[in-house]
Every structure is written in C-alpha cells, then in structure tokens.
C-alpha cells in the first residue's frame, strides 16, 4: 500500500516540476498556460489519489476528496479565464512558422 503511495507522490512531484519547467520554457501565454495548468492538475490529483489510498476510508480522505472535486471544478475555469482574457486582449498565439495569410485565420 505504502509503495503505491510513494509512486503517486513521486509522480506528483515529477509533474509539478515539469509544469514549472514548461511554464518557464514555453514561448507565449497560451503554451505556458497549457503546461502549467495541466501539470498542476495532474500533480495535485495524483497526490490526492495517493493520499486517499494511503489513508483508506477515513474523515481525512473524505475531506481530500472534497478538495479534489472543488479543484477539478475550478482549475479549468481559471485557466480558461486567463486564456480568454489573453485572446480577447489581442495577444497573438505563437507559431513556429508564421505566414501573412495565417494571421487572419487565427483571429
């Protein structure tokens, strides 16, 4: 049991680390947002699953479940809000090769 927990804990730290690295490396807001929010979600969820397995059925794991559900509801909304504000604020998405006619297609 504790072995599974360790695996999940390792996964969680791993994803958190790579989320941060991605956020620092990527070129524009949208890609940074992708890296950060996804990795954060995955890391937090794997942490919660690991802890719930570790603790079994107890009041702590029920509370962790509630936190997880709340987080699952709010996290995509927050990242959507940031992305939308950037999109409407006029920040163009970064692309590897940008041609003139593609700009109008993106908007």
């Amino acid at each position: 049991m504790i072995f599974i927990f360790y695996i999940f804990l390792f996964l969680s730290i791993f994803f958190a680390f790579f989320g941060n690295i991605g956020m620092l490396r990527f070129p524009d807001v949208y890609t940074r947002l992708q890296a950060s929010s996804k990795c954060a979600t995955t890391s937090l969820l794997s942490l919660f699953i690991g802890l719930m397995i570790f603790k079994g059925f107890s009041s702590i794991s029920v509370r962790i479940l509630v936190i997880g559900i709340f987080f699952l509801l709010t996290s995509p909304v927050a990242s959507h809000a940031i992305g939308r504000s950037a999109y409407e604020g006029g920040i163009l998405p970064w692309r590897r090769v940008r041609k003139k006619e593609d700009i109008s297609e993106d908007r």
């Binding site: 509801l73 909304v77 959507h80 809000a81």
Partner: protein, 137 residues
C-alpha cells in the same frame, strides 16, 4: 464585452456551495478553524463571485442591496441585545444565556454558535456592501 459562458455557468453552480461552505465555517467555528469573521468573508466572496461573473443587476435580484443593508444593521442590534439580555438576567454583559451541551458536539456552545452566526451574517453583508459602494461611487 460579453461574459464567458463557462465562467457564468460554473459560478452559478458553485456559488450555493460556497455560501454553504461559509455557513459551515461559521457554525463549526469553535470546533475547527474558522468562525464568524472568516465564514462571513467566505459568504461575501460567494456573493462577489456572482457579482463578477453575472454583473450587478443579477446580484441585485437575488441579494438586494436594501436587504443586505438591513441585515447588517439588524445583526448588530441583535448582537447588542443578546449582550444586554445577559445583563438583564443578572449576569454580566455577553454572558452565556443558553444551556451548555456536551463538549465536542456542535451545540456545546449554543450561545457562541448564535453569536458566530450573527457576526458572520453581518461581516458578509458588510463586505459585500463595501465592494458595491466602490463599484458604484
């Protein structure tokens, strides 16, 4: 500027739960972290989330400003009257006038639960009103 459908939808479904969570913080204030003030702020945050996602008019429909004002004032008066009731019963100001239950249960401090409820509603209404004032003035 139109509103994002996702934000409005999620906040619509989430706000009742946030309000309930604020009430939970208030009513379990003496058994777990939280209490009148913290719960009140969470209540206010729930209403403010509604205000941010749906705009001023819809908040006015569910939580009219007049009612919030009235809640705030009446709660203070209730608090003071509860305190004075202790004086009238021959004890000191704000002394417990309800019976004590067993320790570890919610009604263990029935009086404190009541006071926390009053403070929480007052704080929630007050902070919401401050934000509305800054929005309109």
């Amino acid at each position: 500027m139109e509103r994002s459908q996702i934000v409005t939808m999620v906040s619509r479904k989430l706000v009742p739960f946030i309000l309930l969570f604020g009430l939970y913080l208030i009513s379990y204030g003496h058994l777990s972290p939280g209490g009148g003030f913290q719960g009140g702020v969470v209540l206010a945050s729930g209403i403010l989330l509604l205000f941010l996602s749906h705009g001023f008019t819809l908040v006015q429909r569910s939580f009219p400003e007049r009612h919030l004002n009235l809640t705030e004032l009446v709660m203070v008066l209730l608090f003071l009257l509860l305190g004075l009731a202790g004086l009238l019963l021959g004890k000191s100001f704000l002394s417990n006038i309800l019976l004590l239950g067993e320790a570890g249960e919610i009604p263990s401090a029935g009086f404190i639960l009541l006071l926390n409820m009053i403070i929480g509603l007052k704080v929630g209404a007050g902070i919401t009103l401050i934000c509305f004032y800054l929005f309109r003035s």
